[in-house]
């Protein structure tokens, strides 16, 4: 069982002892079986470690060393008072989770309240497992249920499958356009002891359906938890999902998230991930384009400081001809922060006319900051257009002097240049209304950087 004693203990506590009864869907034989198989797999695999190519730059066992986690409890006191609104207009629905567990009193407009149109089911996963398990049977076993799951990459999926406790379930019938954004809010860091939670989200859009999901991860308290989230996406023919993810966990948290899914013909998935929080985060996106004209646009920005570590790993598999993928990830790193970008575009034999583009650019604001960028193309078709690029560098000294010669002080000039650099990625977002809240967060981050600089200067005088 190797290198994960605290998590293994947690597995024992939750699955072998009386703890199992506390997990949602405890009475469902198919689920119990899945949990048990997944737990065995995780024990056999252990945590992903740096000897695995895909984990070369992110040392998870080291980050988890000497850390211990309790299962999350549903009674942690919480409120939304400290949570700023994302935009001026209210979301159509908001599901709020505290330490990964759904809180009805903080949420609103779940199914039945009247604001969601017919053909849309939106509910917490634990509630679905308790009240209508038929809704999920056969839908939670992708990847983790297959027999040849010995791939060590699947360890975190197995851990999630063993312990999944709650999450968001969104099922949209064919042809239904959800007329507003759905917010998924995760509040963490509140309890006295660090907790582990395993969110499992499921988004299924029928043919021609469309939705916008905004996922907000907020550290509202200082306690450092461990999240191991899995999001599964199923986009039917011509379906369209816009998925914004704002990760603002507290600086002691460990945030692991895997999004996997498949797109049918003509489906479109547009994602933007803003990574600001956590001591260590890894956001992995693993998608397959199964039908012609399917398209993904993955974009993101990361702003890290102190000793934060942020890992973005994407894998896009083009299975059929005429599919498109574009990725632009940009970041700014200060102090001793470290970012990892690993992007793989895999074009299978026969997937002609694939259009795949990947770009990763990082600004290093300190000489101790580091980025490890590894864009990869793996192409088995001969008529494709694929390109990738990566850059890392300091702020352009000429631009900085130009701004200062116009009266902007060093701090303001730097902030303006960094904001402009990141805005290029944010402006790729097709929903203009969602750009401003992202830019506002970038500005807040820069403001904080400026205050730190000022304090240091004053302290040195």
């Amino acid at each position: 069982m190797g290198d994960a004693p605290p998590l293994a203990r947690l597995l024992d506590a939750r699955l072998v002892e009386e703890g199992a009864a506390a997990l949602p869907g405890a009475g469902l034989p198919w689920l119990a079986e899945r949990r048990k198989a997944a737990a065995e797999r995780f024990r056999a695999l252990g945590l992903p470690h740096r000897r695995l190519e895909a984990w070369k730059y992110t040392d998870l066992p080291r980050a988890l060393k000497d850390r211990d986690y309790l299962p999350a409890q549903r009674q942690a006191p919480a409120s939304l008072d400290a949570v700023p609104a994302l935009t001026g207009d209210e979301p159509l629905a908001r599901l709020v989770f505290v330490d990964g567990l759904y809180r009805a009193e903080l949420s609103r407009a779940a199914t039945g309240s009247g604001s969601l149109p017919d053909g849309v089911r939106l509910l917490p996963l634990a509630q679905a497992l308790e009240r209508e398990p038929g809704l999920l049977e056969g839908r939670l076993d992708a990847l983790t249920g297959d027999a040849d799951g010995a791939d060590p990459q699947l360890a975190l999926l197995a851990l999630n499958a063993a312990l999944l406790d709650d999450g968001l379930v969104l099922l949209v019938e064919p042809g239904v356009a959800v007329p507003g954004r759905i917010e998924l809010v995760q509040l963490g860091g509140l309890g006295e002891r660090p907790v582990f939670h395993a969110p499992r989200h499921l988004v299924v859009l029928g043919e021609g359906a469309s939705a916008t999901l905004v996922e907000r991860i907020l550290g509202v308290g200082p306690t450092g938890g461990l999240a191991n989230a899995v999001t599964e996406l199923r986009l039917g023919k011509g379906a369209a999902l816009t998925h914004l993810r704002l990760q603002e966990a507290n600086e002691a948290a460990i945030e692991l998230a895997t999004t996997f899914g498949a797109l049918e013909a003509g489906a479109r998935y547009e994602a933007f991930a803003l990574t600001l929080g956590a001591a260590l985060s890894r956001h992995e996106i693993d998608l397959t384009l199964d039908g012609e004209d399917a398209e993904v646009a993955l974009n993101g920005a990361y702003l890290l400081r102190g000793r934060q570590h942020g890992d973005t790993t994407t894998r896009i598999v083009h299975r059929v001809p005429d599919t498109r993928a574009s990725e632009t990830y940009k970041g700014a790193l200060d102090d001793e922060a470290r970012a990892v970008f690993q992007g793989l575009i895999l074009v299978e034999r026969g997937a002609q006319k694939t259009d795949g583009r990947m770009l990763n650019k990082t600004l290093l604001l300190s000489d101790k900051a580091e980025v490890d960028s590894k864009p990869e193309l793996e192409i088995y078709a001969d008529d494709v257009q694929c390109a990738h690029g990566a850059t890392a560098g300091e702020i352009d000294a000429d631009a900085l002097f130009y701004l200062r010669s116009r009266g902007l002080d060093q701090r303001r000039a730097r902030a303006l240049l960094i904001e402009a650099f990141l805005a290029e990625a944010i402006e790729s977002l097709s929903d203009e209304g969602l750009r401003e809240p992202l830019l506002a967060r970038v500005r807040a981050w820069l403001q904080k950087a400026g205050e730190q600089d000022r304090n240091e200067t004053e302290g040195g005088r």
């Binding site: 631009a399 701004l403 116009r406 002080d409 402009a420």
Partner: protein, 255 residues
């Protein structure tokens, strides 16, 4: 002589240990337009960068007094706040920053430095439109990112627009005429002429006499090998145009 705007005394400056400026003396009075002409490598651009405070230049000797202050002790943004403006030979492209935002940030930074109130976005647009009108410029490139995709002429006109917005006391124009066709050159010169006033001075740095046909200077100086080797009136520029710089160079340089 009327009030002194800029007084450069025995200025020596090096780049990476190599002396470039070797004892410059120059005084510009308020309201005067001076031109510095010189061959490539004579130190023209170094002088403009030293005066505007760019990093990488070491002042080894001498002093620069600007409106009674020690200019060399100020940061670049402080110099801008004090009313010094450099029109760049190669204006810098800044992707992602709209030109309007850039102009507003600059104007407000300078206003703050001078103890004046910041303009809000609305008030600023009013001021900006007034400046555009005075300069006979259209507002179509305000929305574009700073200098990105601008033609050579547009970049130089954007410098003039910035100058008009920042209302400097002393404007340094570094090879503002380079790379411009005749129409762009005239437009830039008209912009500069419109800004001439009794309390504003200009220092034009140029290789060619061409610009001085449109902006007539009060004084012309010849810079060679890091020193001002000759000074005179506008007629000196014409002499240079006819005879070139050969007479000012070392035999080795002229060869």
């Amino acid at each position: 002589m009327s009030d002194s705007m800029l007084k450069i005394q025995n200025l020596h400056a090096s780049v990476e240990g190599k002396p470039i400026l070797r004892g410059i003396d120059l005084e510009i009075a308020a309201g005067e337009v001076h031109a510095i002409m010189g061959p490539n490598g004579s130190g023209k651009s170094t002088l403009s960068y030293v005066l505007s405070g760019r990093e990488g230049y070491e002042i080894t000797e001498g002093s620069v007094t600007y409106k009674g202050k020690d200019l060399l002790a100020l940061e670049p943004e402080e110099r801008a706040g004090e009313g010094l403006f450099l029109a760049f030979q190669y204006p810098v492209e800044i992707p992602g920053v709209p030109n309007t935002t850039f102009l507003r940030e600059a104007v407000n930074a300078v206003r703050e430095y001078r103890g004046e109130e910041r303009y809000d976005a609305l008030k600023f647009m009013k001021v900006l439109r007034a400046r555009l009108k005075e300069l006979g410029m259209s507002d179509e490139f305000l929305k574009r990112a700073v200098n990105v995709g601008f033609s050579g002429g547009e970049k130089k006109r954007n410098e003039v627009l910035q100058m008009a917005c920042l209302e400097p006391s002393l404007a340094l124009l570094d090879e503002t005429d380079s790379g411009l066709d005749i129409d762009a050159l005239k437009a830039v010169a008209d912009g500069v002429n419109a800004l001439r006033s009794p309390d504003r001075s200009f220092l034009l740095i140029t290789h060619y006499q061409r610009l001085l046909g449109y902006i007539v200077p009060d004084k012309v100086h010849v810079l060679a090998r890091g020193r001002i080797v000759e000074s005179g009136g506008p007629e000196l520029a014409e002499k240079l145009e006819a005879g070139g710089y050969a007479g000012y160079l070392d035999e080795t340089e002229a060869a």
